[in-house]
């Protein structure tokens, strides 16, 4: 299995688009903390921002495009055609020749993805929080380890969400479009929370409760429950995606 995971990692790092996801995801949040600094300072001084406990963590949301790209590309790259002479064959054909047991293949892919995005999350969270500490140290303190862990978990689950959806659709464009729009400042999910309270249980909304305090939610949910709900969503989609992958022709 270690050998398989290493192979999957090597495959991933050979994709230029994966590097786009790595770089964007890692740099986005710290960069935004930096560029937002003057506005944040003004807002604190003016009293419009009273609760600063989310500083550094909130910005992580905008870096989510990184894990989304990685999750999607992990699957969609297998479905690109291998050449003009046989447009029906895909990289997946080669992969399955090397690793015919689909369950092991999926386990290896999932593991590789989790390793990469969790590491990315740790790096970007540390960078963003350290910057926030340096820039606004007198107004905020380092959040509890549990909250940072929650943020890393959110990041990882988001990647797995993208991954699971792509397993189902096999095409990368649909999940990418949908997810990137949803990670915007005013996301579709957030919009839906204004329509119905049930939307508060959508994976990206509920998961944020694991580490954010100041966002406005219609329903009170504890961080632990939030984590469980988001994990349940991801698990369900992974199950569906996994079954489809197992049973479909290449």
């Amino acid at each position: 299995m270690v050998r398989l995971v290493r192979a999957e990692l090597r495959k991933l790092f050979g994709l230029p688009t994966a590097w786009v996801g790595l770089v964007l995801g890692t740099l986005a949040a710290p960069l935004i903390v930096l560029l937002n600094a003057p506005y944040t300072r003004r807002a604190i001084a003016a009293g419009t921002v009273t609760d600063t406990s989310d500083l550094g963590l909130r910005e992580l949301g905008l870096g989510l495009i990184g894990p989304m790209i990685l999750g999607v590309i992990m699957v969609s790259s297998e479905y690109t055609s291998t050449g003009p002479d046989s447009p029906g064959a895909r990289q997946l054909t080669t992969t399955l020749t090397a690793v015919p047991d689909r369950r092991r293949l999926l386990t290896a892919k999932t593991t590789a993805l989790v390793l990469v995005v969790a590491a990315q999350a740790a790096v970007t969270a540390t960078a963003a929080l350290s910057l926030a500490e340096v820039l606004h140290g007198d107004h905020t303190s380092m959040p509890a380890a549990a909250r940072v862990a929650g943020a890393i978990l959110y990041w990882t689950l988001t990647a797995l969400l993208a991954y699971a959806i792509t397993l189902i659709t096999r095409n990368g464009i649909v999940p990418l479009t949908f997810l990137i729009i949803n990670s915007a400042v005013v996301s579709v999910s957030y919009l839906l929370t204004k329509v119905t309270d049930l939307a508060a249980y959508l994976p990206d909304i509920v998961g944020a409760r694991m580490f954010l305090r100041t966002a406005d939610f219609p329903v009170e949910i504890s961080p632990l429950t939030a984590g469980l709900v988001m994990t349940a969503w991801v698990a369900a989609l992974l199950a569906v995606g996994g079954v489809l992958f197992h049973r479909r022709d290449v």
Binding site: S81, G83, P84, D85, S86, P87, G88
Partner: protein
Amino acid sequence: MITIDRVSKTKSRTQILYDVSFEARPGRVTGFLGPNGAGKTSTLRILLGLDRPQSGTALICGRPYRKLDRPLTTVGALLDGSGAHRARKARAHLRWVAASNGLPDSRVDEVLEIVGLTGAARKRAGRFSLGMSRRLGLATALLGDPEVLVLDEPVNGLDPAGIRWIREFLKDSAAQGRTVLLSSHLMGELAEIADDVIVIDKGRVVIQGRLAEVTGGHRTLEDAFLALTAADSGGSW
């Protein structure tokens, strides 16, 4: 009539074609022979206006490809694959190509008939086998009933029946007065079809002439080819 005159091409700072010159005449099958990577496809792509040479000219019936009006009625080209988008049905593919050169839709069914793909017309190009893809590519080349045929490794991927079919087809085309230029790295096959042969190696034309001339004193074309390309410099003489 195809005229290639001192074509040179550089790609990513490596020169891949050095003063390539040759002719392909109507009524004859001209074989363009060379090992993989010799520059055959590069030359053909320049001839067809897909790539630009650093110097030299490549003319079809006295004009560069880009200056031809309704080019598919003059030249039919078969490159690798089918040239079709994999999600599009074969007939839909041929229909848009026909429209692009003002050809009637009836030609679509005619060429499908010629290459034997009538039954697969409603299939998506991505589901074609290797042989079917080549036949779709050939059908596309024949849409305009062109007087010049340019084929890059045409027998690649065909089964024995298909290879024989193409051999007869190309010979008949030449007999009807068409100019046929095909490239290959399969000497045995080329020796069966070609009237004239051009040998290219490492971007340079090594020899050109009638099949008998090029084979020279060697037993087969293959022997001749290996002898000619054994020398390190591979310069023309």
